[in-house]
């Protein structure tokens, strides 16, 4: 059963990725300027431009360019960046782990804060606990990420508690070469000083990034828990005298968890987007500065790669979450298409 469920999800996954590559290609193809001319600058001769155009295949028909592009992308070759004059894939490999670390840590933060808060709000429904958490979740949802980031920076600069920018203090001499995620590698290598330093660096950006997600997930967890609380089996367990905490965790949360998980998957998209903003504010050495520079300088190949990778992560994240939901709620393996 789980295998056919997986197969169905995987087919959808391939289809969506294919569509994604088409859309991105179409968007990038309508660049009004001439990418070759932009790369070479106004002083280049017409022959030089024509030569670069030919080199990069800009002179061929769109469909041929697309097929070439897809073939190269499937081999992990995104072409050469006009901006850094290096292979885009090398740039991506360098920038991606930092963004990934930030986004994953933020997801963890969201789950650790929002789910318990939502459960508590539902447990003490319509009391001050509920009202406070609802107000906070509303604030989280309506405050733009960059405002949260700037306000956190403001406070951090007043109290000197957390570092304002960067991913790691420069004097530690630590190279994350196992998973490329500093938090994981420092633990694997037993460097707890590095781990603490990395944690203090990631905390503020990740807090800024998590605000909206915490609000959303808390809201959904609360309403979903309230929904489950009215079911018959909960009533029955209560009348048997099963302890409250056991009912909440074992018999309610598992049922109620599918809705917040789904939201979490969708939230991943805005995390990837907002990471751009948060990374810029906190000078986090990830995708964002590269992506924004690539976009401003119309670096065709780099823009396509950045968008495609962001889309890929979103789709993969949602696939994983669907899988998790399928494991947690067996009924859905049959119903979901």
């Amino acid at each position: 059963m789980i295998a056919s469920y997986l197969a169905r999800r995987a087919i959808g996954f391939v289809f969506v990725l294919f569509g994604l590559s088409v859309v991105i290609f179409v968007v990038a193809r309508v660049v009004p300027g001439d990418p070759a001319r932009i790369a070479l600058g106004p002083l280049a001769t017409a022959e030089q431009v024509a030569q670069l155009q030919q080199e990069m295949g800009f002179d061929k028909p769109a469909i041929v360019q697309y097929v070439d592009y897809l073939g190269r992308v499937l081999h992990g070759n995104f072409g050469r960046s006009l901006l850094t004059n290096r292979p885009v894939s090398a740039d991506i490999v360098e920038a991606l782990p930092a963004t990934l670390e930030l986004v994953l840590f933020t997801l963890l933060l969201i789950v650790l804060v929002a789910v318990p808060a939502g459960v508590l709000a539902a447990r003490w429904h319509n009391t001050w606990v509920d009202n406070t958490s609802r107000l906070l979740s509303l604030l989280g949802v309506v405050t733009p990420g960059f405002v949260v980031a700037l306000v956190l920076q403001l406070f951090a600069s007043l109290f000197h508690f957390f570092p304002l920018t960067g991913r790691l203090s420069p004097n530690l001499g630590f190279i994350a070469d196992i998973t490329r995620l500093v938090l994981v590698d420092s633990l694997l290598k037993g460097r707890f000083d590095v781990f603490a330093d990395a944690l203090s660096h990631i905390f503020l950006p990740s807090l800024a990034l998590s605000a909206a997600g915490i609000g959303q997930v808390m809201r959904i967890t609360r309403s979903s828990m309230l929904d489950v609380a009215r079911r018959d089996h909960v009533e029955t367990l209560r009348s048997f005298g099963v302890p409250d905490w056991l009912i909440t965790i074992k018999y309610m949360l598992r049922l109620a968890a599918t809705a917040p998980l789904t939201i979490l998957g969708l939230e991943f998209a805005s995390l990837m987007g907002n990471a751009f903003i948060v990374e810029l504010v906190f000078a986090w050495p990830g995708f964002a500065s590269y992506g924004v520079r690539a976009i401003l300088s119309k670096d065709f190949n780099a823009v396509m790669a950045v968008v495609l990778m962001s889309g890929l992560f979103f789709v993969v994240a949602n696939l994983l979450i669907d899988l998790l939901i399928g494991i947690m709620d067996p009924r859905l393996r049959i119903r979901r298409t």
Binding site: V22, V27, L138, P144, F146, L154, I295, V306
Partner: protein, 293 residues
Amino acid sequence: MSSATDLTQDFEELSNLGRAWRRFLRNPAAVIGALIVISVVVAAVLAPLLAPHPGHAGSFVDFRNRHIAPSFAHVMGTDNVGRDIFSRVLFGYRVSLLLVVGVLGVAVPLGVLFGLLAGYFAGVVETAFMGFTNVMLAMPPLVMALAITAVLSPDLVNSMIAITCLWWTWHCRLVYRVTKSVAAEDFVEAARLAGASHFHVLFRELLPNCTAAISVKTTLDAGFVILFGASLSFLGLGVQPPTPDLGTMVASGAQFLPEMWWEAVMPGLAILYAILGFNLLGDGLRDMMDVEI
């Protein structure tokens, strides 16, 4: 139809509306939201009259009065070239609301139309539309909008285009879901049997069932479009200076943190205020009309 049934119908509709209205008024959050939205709209429309320094909206320079902290003369302080931030915020709301109207004015009808078609006609139409919609939904919207604005060169109209390209999909999916569940009901079948055209069924039978959900979603969206536009211009890929855009104001004010905190925080709070208003109003409407989004 006799006039007697007409009357009962009118009466029932009226009392339904009346009931909904009373339910809305009993919800303090929704009323606050409505008031905030009204204040933002009034601020935007009457900006030239309300702003203490209407001339500061554009590229005005007064270096003697730069970096003044909030005071009675300048309630939100002044920026790095001596412009009154409060005046610029009022004009900034114009840009924000223009963006909202531009985006939702195109994205909502488009999404609704596609959603109706996909939900009503099964088969190829459904697969094609929803397949495309799902692909569009699989892209992180901000990243995609960044790419589109960059390709088109950043300004107000192009951010509108970029956001519209992404936004219609949400309405498409919502309307698709509602239509799909309603299309199976007997009255649709009955209308078809009575000889109604597809056009009639789509726009007179199915669409009215979607309006509640659409209006709630559109209200909530207004806030998120403002947020989205502000994020774009914060990154320098949206509205360009000297047009007073709230996101751009936050970005340029951020250079003077933490000493001149008001230059970034005040426009930031102005964005938050507008989004909060649309959000509270949208949530209130959702409770009032009892729809799921």
